[in-house]
């Protein structure tokens, strides 16, 4: 039977050992041992509902030491009354050095300052600030071997470029960076299109962190790995159907391949959730009962154990005695491991708490199995005015090896991408010859001056750098700009995508990212013939667009090899104007079917008729379209904002069709009807993609090969309206 203490009586509640014997002050060590605990105390607050929120500031945070680590231990404030400049500090996170002599923390000194990094020497209490950009925020520091510190920051690796903006919580994204412990050598890593947060160091020398993956329909926070130098991004946990929740964060290693983490939703949960014990690979138990899972560690093989099954994994309010967990730190590696945790009782949901005028009250607890093997939560410290979070034993630990990738200075500051055999995939079965090449596209978001939506399909901005041909042996290679989010698709000889990578990734300058295949089996080996791959022998494909500065990575002409972005009111509308609007002009009839949007509650209805003209939408359709720039043709081909239709419980009736599917030119009705011609390696108007009669036959001049490719790219890049070529932020006002 689960026993849970609902209240804490300081000085009387005791920590009991797993054996069930002993008190906090006697000889039994229990899972916590005798090392003091370091605890971050932050004044309580409620506005950190989103898992990526990092700018919250309430002054008078402190770091304390609890010695011994028991409810009646002595609390000593170790930071930050040493320096008057730190008097109003808020602290968002910290880490303990390997020799347990220093603490690095992220602190904000005043409301009008940014979060910076500070080093506290435990011997003498001296605090010094590290040299980071005072105009940017630096949070979540982690010590790395080699006298370095990893962090996340909204500073930008690309000089002069704006930082990516997250579409949901409307904040500037965080990216990885690292700095020497003496404040020199500050360097930023390649960027994700959205946030990277809560990094941690693993025993094999890699780093793990939460990455928000947002590409089209995918919207979730997953655990990913990288090297300490921020190269070699690899999947960790959360995708391929083995995840526990929308977002997984604050992972801490229990043993190789095994982690404890918070499973939660993106928002309203105050960055708290359920505790899960993740096993990435094959589970192994050693003679001492320690459990690890390093072998064959992949997302596909991963499993997890829900350590707190009553705690919601979504953002529904929790309940009394269940609450939510803010973080957890493992104390051993047994199958049922013990943890020191931060936990708050009650709903722990920002809206419910806000309505009641309350805040969550996180305190420190021991979460360990009792003699019957049932997990119990025992209180250690709970200051009712503060969040008591990130409890960590103050003890030395072994630094893992320095792990980095070889950087090739001959790459001209670019990143080399490629694969040994693109046909080897764990996600898609290809027939030999299906794939002509790999299309590589750069991603960006509204920070470049765009409106809220690039299109009604909710895809991000995309600029296609080019198509790297797949060689005879299945290999491909290309040089791409470093530090930018990249999306890759395999394409067939018609230029249509047969598979899209569902996430963004990026590489550093001089990094070589050579995969086995196209998301090959992560637990296996890719077998190829000995010798150089054809792609390397031929040399990586270079794209003209990839060598240009960011602002110039757009189309000058819209031919197959020069096209970069596809502005809807540019080449797409030109096709419709020249070859389609004589029939598809919005006049109801066989060429222009109609459908009706009805509100079943009121009976009110709007009727739309197929119309490929370039006029902007009538006023009554603008809300359903999503932007006042969107045109009749865009609305007709791509359709209305379906999220708005669904949310409003509207009903569509009549001849409703979506003619362009994002990332799926081959499955788009528009392309099926038009029946595009062969594009690669050479354009051939005598070879068609489908066996059906092309729509234009007998109706007028057919599309040119370049025009077909423009429509294909428009679809495969997300069916957006805006691209860099028609960015309204570039006009002069």
């Amino acid at each position: 039977m689960k026993q849970t203490m609902k209240t804490l009586a300081l000085g009387t509640a005791l920590v009991t050992a797993v054996t069930g014997a002993g008190c906090g002050s006697d000889d039994s060590e229990g899972p916590l041992g005798t090392d003091p605990l370091i605890i971050l105390q932050r004044p309580k607050r409620n506005e950190m509902g989103d898992i990526f929120q990092y700018t919250s500031y309430v002054p008078k945070a402190r770091l304390i030491k609890l010695d011994p680590p028991t409810a009646d231990g002595t609390q000593t404030v170790i930071c930050c009354d040493q320096d008057p400049a730190l008097a109003n500090i808020d602290i968002s996170g910290y880490d303990i050095s390997f020799d347990a002599k220093q603490i690095v923390f992220s602190g904000k000194l005043a409301a009008n300052q940014a979060y910076g990094l500070f080093i506290l020497n435990l011997d003498d209490g001296n605090v010094e600030q590290l040299s980071t950009d005072p105009g940017r925020d630096y949070v979540s520091p982690v010590f790395l071997p080699g006298d370095k510190i990893l962090y996340t920051s909204n500073a930008v690796v690309e000089a002069g470029a704006p930082q990516h903006r997250d579409e949901y919580e409307r904040g500037t994204t965080l990216q990885l960076g690292r700095i020497n412990t003496d404040g020199t050598g500050d360097e930023l890593g390649p960027r994700n299109l959205s946030h990277r947060t809560f990094p941690t160091l693993t025993s094999d020398g890699r780093i793990m962190f939460t990455q928000w993956d947002h590409l089209g329909p995918l919207n979730a926070g997953h655990l990913v790995f990288a090297n300490q130098d921020m190269t070699n991004l690899r999947e960790g946990f959360g995708k391929e159907g083995t995840g526990a929740s929308n977002s997984t964060l604050k992972a801490q290693e229990i043993a190789p391949g095994r982690f404890v983490a918070i499973a939660t939703a993106r928002n309203r949960t105050i960055q708290a959730g359920a505790l899960i014990d993740i096993r990435l690979g094959d589970v192994v138990t050693d003679d001492d009962g320690n459990v690890s899972a390093a072998a064959r560690a992949t997302e596909a093989n991963a499993t997890f154990r829900d350590l707190t099954p009553d705690v919601p994994h979504d953002n529904e309010p929790s309940v009394e005695t269940v609450g939510r967990y803010y973080d957890a730190y493992p104390l051993d590696a047994r199958d049922k491991a013990s943890f020191v945790v931060s936990w708050a009782d009650g709903p722990v949901e920002s809206e419910v708490l806000g309505l009641a005028g309350l805040e969550a009250n996180f305190g420190v607890y021991l979460y360990a199995p009792n003699s019957r093997g049932t997990y119990e939560r025992r209180p250690i410290l709970d200051d009712p005015a503060m969040w008591d979070v990130f409890p960590r034993p103050l003890r030395t630990r072994t630094a893992p090896p320095v792990v980095a990738s070889q950087i090739d200075t001959n790459l001209g500051g670019m990143t080399l991408l490629g694969a040994m055999d693109v046909y080897q995939s764990s996600l898609k079965t290809f027939d030999q010859g299906d794939i002509y090449g790999v299309r590589i596209s750069e991603g960006f978001s509204s920070e470049e001056g765009f409106p809220e939506m690039f299109g009604s399909t909710m895809f991000e901005g995309m600029a296609t750098l080019g198509v790297a041909p797949v060689r005879t042996d299945g290999s491909w290679a290309a040089l791409v700009p470093a530090n930018v989010p990249i999306r890759i698709q395999t394409v067939d000889k018609f230029g249509m995508s047969n598979f899209s990578e569902p996430v963004w990734f990026s590489g550093r300058a001089g990094e070589s990212r050579f995969c086995g295949g196209c998301h090959e089996d992560r637990a296996g080996s890719t077998v190829i013939d000995p010798g150089l791959t054809d792609a390397i022998a031929a040399g990586p494909t270079t794209f003209v667009a990839a060598t240009k500065p960011r602002d110039d990575r757009k189309s000058s002409v819209y031919s197959r090899d020069a096209i970069v972005g596809v502005p809807w009111d540019g080449p797409v509308q030109a096709i419709f104007d020249a070859k389609c609007v004589s029939c598809h002009d919005g006049v109801p009839g066989p060429a222009n079917p109609s459908y009706t949007i009805t509100d079943p509650m009121t009976g009110a209805a709007l009727t739309w008729t197929f119309d490929l003209r370039g006029d902007t939408l009538p006023a009554e359709f603008v809300e359903l379209g999503g932007d006042s720039h969107f045109t009749r043709s865009y609305f007709s081909i791509v359709g209305p904002d379906m999220e708005a239709i669904e949310d409003a419980d509207l009903v569509l009736s009549g001849t409703f069709k979506v003619y362009m599917e994002p990332e799926n030119a081959r499955g788009s009705l528009l392309l099926e009807l038009l029946n595009p011609v062969k594009q690669f390696p050479n354009q051939d108007t005598g070879v068609r993609a489908f066996t059906t009669t092309p729509h234009m036959q007998g109706k007028g001049p057919d599309l040119t090969a370049d025009e077909f490719y423009q429509l294909i790219l428009a679809a495969d890049n997300g069916a957006s309206f805006f691209s860099r070529e028609n960015n309204p932020g570039l006009d002069i006002y």
């Binding site: 005072p134 020199t184 949310d647």
Partner: protein
């Protein structure tokens, strides 16, 4: 704003005249109103986000009122909501542009926050005029600076340069800090002149911007600030800026600053010194 909201709803929403319009995500006008009644910023923002795609006439009126809330977080979320409703957004923007010219401090504040958050670039000419008004207070000026920063468009530069001469130090500080975040901004000169400002916060922000933008014209002033400014944050930012500028002439000043009595300065100065080849 209530009258404007109602008018917009009547003109624009043919579909949803009176329905409760419960959303797939659970949002509703009633829930938004309930949150508003509670007074909780977190509840209001949560319900606005929940109603992201909700098409609801009554919602328009409620959220329109939130554009005038005293709390920026609420105004910002409300503007975000309208940014996803382009026809209504355009009608509101027209009204708010008018307010820039004739409204009082609060009206101008609210207008600027809406126009900035909704990326209404066409309001930039009106913002350039409004920033010169002498009959509105700092709250309005700060909002205009905030709007220009969010839009990050060079057509907003004149707003910032005027704001950098404002009598209110918080306006000057915000303006100089925003300068570096304008897309394509190259010239640090406006920030250099603020290194000698009478307000420490302004000097601190200016030092950061000068360093970030490579404003070598500010070098000698930064060298003086890093050893002589009474404010530790000014000294710290000046140290960082000197490290970015990397001039050999800064070694002496940074060596002195490496023994600063404040820990927020010492470490930054040492690192800056080490970075100067």
């Amino acid at each position: 704003m209530m009258k404007l909201g109602t008018k917009i709803a009547a003109v624009t929403f043919v579909l949803l005249a009176a329905g409760p319009a419960l959303a797939g995500k659970g949002g509703s006008a009633a829930k938004i109103q309930s949150a508003v009644t509670s007074g909780s910023v977190d509840a209001i923002v949560a319900e606005i986000e929940r109603a992201e795609s909700l098409m609801c006439e009554r919602c328009v009126g409620i959220v329109t009122n939130l554009l005038e809330d005293d709390r920026y977080a609420v105004r910002e979320a409300a503007a975000w909501w309208f940014a996803k409703r382009p026809a209504i957004k355009d009608m509101l923007a027209t009204q708010f542009v008018t307010e820039l010219a004739s409204g009082d401090t609060i009206a101008v504040r609210n207008a600027a926050d809406f126009l900035g958050r909704t990326m209404t670039y066409t309001s930039l000419p009106a913002l350039r005029t409004a920033i010169k008004r002498t009959d509105v207070g700092a709250d309005a000026k700060l909002a205009m600076v905030r709007a220009v920063k969010y839009m990050a468009h060079q057509s907003g530069n004149p707003v910032l340069t005027v704001a950098m001469t404002d009598a209110d130090a918080t306006v000057r500080a915000a303006a100089v800090a925003a300068w570096r975040d304008i897309r394509g901004q190259k010239d640090a000169t406006p920030a250099v002149s603020l290194l000698a400002d009478g307000d420490a916060q302004v000097r601190a922000e200016a030092a950061t911007v000068v360093g970030a933008m490579g404003g070598v014209a500010g070098l000698s002033t930064l060298e003086a600030l890093v050893v002589g400014d009474p404010d530790p944050f000014v000294r710290r930012n000046a140290a960082w800026a000197l490290g970015k500028l990397g001039a050999a002439s800064s070694r002496t000043a940074l060596t002195t600053a490496s023994t600063d009595k404040s820990g927020v300065v010492r470490g930054v100065a040492r690192a800056a010194l080490a970075s100067i080849k």
